[in-house]
């Protein structure tokens, strides 16, 4: 790593960016534009978030607080739990543990900060992690391994049985840093009795781990508090996603990112609910006026795996500029039983039952086992409840004009089946495109190249008479 990158910790540096950005949102327009002139590295990202009004402002402020909590955890006598984005942090909040979501950090670093992330990606390899592993963890894991970020007190990982690459990164971190490790492990099925029993036993096993690590017992009141907040958040998310079905789609594309940010960073706490309330207001207003969330809707795209975060969120800005409504990814579907895509498939969803501590734990276990990816890619892709079912369901419900896949080069699991699902979706009449872009590492396929491939695809396949993208 270059010396200049080691002068400040990554998480501290990012907190300072966010903290300053959040203050900017309270400034006058003139103050805002003049300050932006001095922030070339993350101007476009801040600018993008500033266009989303109150929702974006609240998100930035909440995220700044999220980082601040991490940075001040030690001095406040709190433990830091390193987690993955397929894990709901709500249970950590109930234990008063400070969650540190690795991929959440990776996405922020990649989006806001052009410099620095390649070196953190590569740092992991310098200390023995494979260069072929997933960039989603590596961006933010590098500084943790290098001692350039807060050191976690323990690790909770929820992808064994779902994604080797992800789980392996956390296992590596645990072995490398010699930090206690706990895994939630998932069977390949979802709703049968054996699977449900396993989910519940495994979740309780994790609770014992948390009790051991924190020296605290499960607190019923705190648990109820986070569960109640989850219910509020889920209701709003489901309402927003119902609006997302409208043509034109009144939900700004970036709100998809907000939805999963909230679920993986602010699940069960008021910060998340506040952002969602602001989002719903904007969506309702757009719907009433009959306008698309991003202005004009030319096409509706469903990104059947994950999104792209590099180079100041260029992908998001390009979609918006070109009137492509982003109608979801695998990451936006958390499978609340009352979600629009769960209609007729309610048994696959989860419900929060607050009647007793046991029922709350079972509800959280059910929620956990339905997190994005955890639900869809744990079994054969074409088995009931899995990737194909969900992709077909959402593509139909949200009236997708085309589908595009992008992930990371480290994703053994999806790269071992994406050709199959893509073929199936084509057979069902959905134009579907596999992209070789890496969501967190722009060196794999530069953002302009892969956006060019989307443009080419829409044009060659003549999707809704696509005449070519706007680039400038």
């Amino acid at each position: 790593m270059r010396n200049e990158l080691t002068e400040y910790n990554y998480d501290w540096r990012f907190w300072s960016i966010l903290d300053n950005a959040s203050k900017l949102f309270d400034a006058t327009e003139k103050e805002f534009t003049s300050t932006m002139a001095y922030t070339p590295s993350f101007r476009a990202t801040t600018g993008k978030l500033s266009t989303t009004g109150k929702a974006g402002h609240r998100l930035v402020k909440a995220t700044a607080r999220y980082f601040e909590n991490i940075l001040t955890a030690r001095s406040r006598g709190k433990k830091i739990g390193l987690i993955t984005y397929n894990f709901s942090p709500a249970v950590l909040f109930a234990f008063d543990v400070v969650p540190y979501c690795l991929e959440g950090m990776s996405a922020f670093y990649a989006a806001a900060w052009n410099r620095g992330i390649y070196e953190s990606l590569d740092y992991c390899c310098e200390v023995g992690f494979t260069e072929t592993s997933c960039s989603g963890q590596r961006v933010a894991l590098g500084p943790v391994l290098a001692g350039l970020a807060e050191r976690p007190d323990f690790i909770v990982c929820s992808t064994p049985g779902v994604c080797d690459s992800n789980a392996n990164a956390f296992a590596f971190a645990s072995a490398y840093l010699d930090v206690p490790f706990c895994q939630l492990n998932y069977p390949p099925t979802l709703t049968d009795e054996r699977a449900v029993e396993y989910h519940r036993a495994d979740f309780r096993n994790m609770l014992s781990f948390l009790e051991e690590q924190t020296g605290k017992k499960v607190d019923v009141d705190k648990m109820r508090e986070v569960c109640e907040e989850i219910i509020k958040q889920d209701e709003i998310i489901c309402e927003i996603q119902d609006y997302q079905r409208l043509v034109p789609c009144p939900v700004p594309g970036i709100f998809n990112l907000f939805i999963y940010d909230i679920k993986v960073l602010f699940s069960g706490i008021k910060d998340g609910t506040d952002i969602l309330e602001a989002m719903l207001e904007i969506v309702k207003d757009n719907a009433e006026r009959g306008v698309a969330g991003d202005g004009v809707e030319r096409l509706r795209g469903f990104f059947y795996y994950i999104d792209h975060y590099c180079i100041q969120m260029k992908y998001w800005r390009w979609l918006e500029k070109n009137g492509i409504s982003h109608i979801g990814t695998m990451m936006t579907d958390f499978w609340q039983a009352n979600a629009p895509y769960a209609r007729g498939r309610e048994e696959e969803g989860y419900r929060m039952d607050l009647s007793s501590l046991d029922s709350m734990i079972d509800s959280l276990a059910a929620q956990s086992s339905r997190m994005p990816m955890v639900k869809q890619i744990r079994g054969p892709y074409d088995a009931p409840h899995m990737w194909l079912d969900d992709t077909v369901g959402v593509a139909n419900l949200m009236k997708a004009d085309f589908l595009a896949f992008m992930g990371t080069m480290g994703c053994r699991n999806t790269w071992s089946m994406v050709k199959l699902i893509t073929r199936d979706m084509e057979k069902l009449g959905y134009p579907a495109l596999i992209l070789y872009a890496d969501s967190f590492d722009n060196r794999i396929e530069p953002v302009d190249t892969f956006l060019g491939k989307i443009d080419e695809f829409l044009r060659v396949r003549d999707i809704r008479g696509w005449k070519g993208a706007v680039w400038k």
Partner: protein
């Protein structure tokens, strides 16, 4: 009316000139460091063969990797569309086009009218591309152009197991050091590469005849024969230089655009 197509690939630049629907000139050269300069040079060469200059061209279309850097192009199109167009013009009965260029390979399915139905690019890897052969030729210390003939002389092709260019390069060096005949190694390389391209062709679904190979690699007889073997079909013989296919498609698109003007 004079129209032109210009295809700036990663390794070569191609220009084609059409007059009233007939191809009257073409030129092909290696791309040096600057694609914009290569575009001007290759186009001027093609034009000068028929005593024309850039000012005489009513409309020109650019394609290929460097298409956005062609200074004189009125419009640009992707290689997929251009190869589809070009192939349909060269041989209207073509339904499958396999284009293997310097940096990438693609398989394109066309309908009877020459429109693209489906297409697929190679995986993010150089193993099935012209660049792969170039690296191997370097490793074997032979000329790229010799490879086709050499491999056809082989009666005992070696097995190349590595899918990765970097691994394959060391594998090739080991084989030669181990006393294997160069012709057998080259033949093995062609088979390995044909295997990679075949999986691409499978990706666009059923293999429909006629099947045409385009791009620089299509001139390599060894690859053509390995492709025929692995796909179990005979590749169509075409009258034009297959490396010009993309530029021809571009020129045809230029003709259409000029007609609409």
């Amino acid at each position: 009316m004079i129209v032109a197509g210009c295809d700036i690939g990663s390794l070569t630049a191609k220009a084609v000139i059409f007059k009233d629907g007939e191809m009257i000139s073409s030129h092909l050269m290696k791309v040096r460091s600057r694609p914009d300069e290569a575009a001007v040079e290759v186009m001027n060469e093609a034009l000068s063969k028929v005593n024309l200059a850039l000012k005489d061209v009513a409309y020109s279309v650019g394609t290929g990797y460097g298409r956005k850097r062609i200074p004189f192009a009125d419009e640009t199109f992707s290689e997929i569309v251009c190869h589809g167009k070009g192939a349909h013009w060269v041989l209207p009965s073509v339904r499958t086009v396999i284009d293997v260029g310097g940096q990438d390979a693609k398989a394109i399915r066309l309908d009877a009218g020459g429109s693209v139905v489906k297409y697929e690019y190679n995986d993010k890897c150089a193993s099935g591309t012209g660049r792969f052969l170039e690296i191997m030729a370097d490793a074997l210390e032979i000329e790229l152009e010799e490879m086709g003939d050499l491999s056809l002389q082989s009666d005992a092709p070696v097995r190349i197991s590595s899918q990765c260019v970097v691994f394959a390069e060391t594998e090739v060096i080991s084989l030669v050091n181990g006393g294997k005949e160069i012709r057998d190694v080259v033949s093995g390389l062609h088979k390995a590469m044909a295997g990679r391209i075949a999986s691409l062709v499978r990706g666009i679904g059923m293999l429909e005849k006629e099947v045409m190979m385009a791009g620089g690699v299509a001139k390599n007889k060894g690859i053509r024969s390995a492709m025929e073997e692995v796909l179990g079909v005979e590749l169509a013989e075409v009258k034009c230089d297959p490396q010009l296919n993309g530029a021809i498609g571009a020129a045809l698109l230029a003709g259409e655009a000029a007609g609409k003007k």
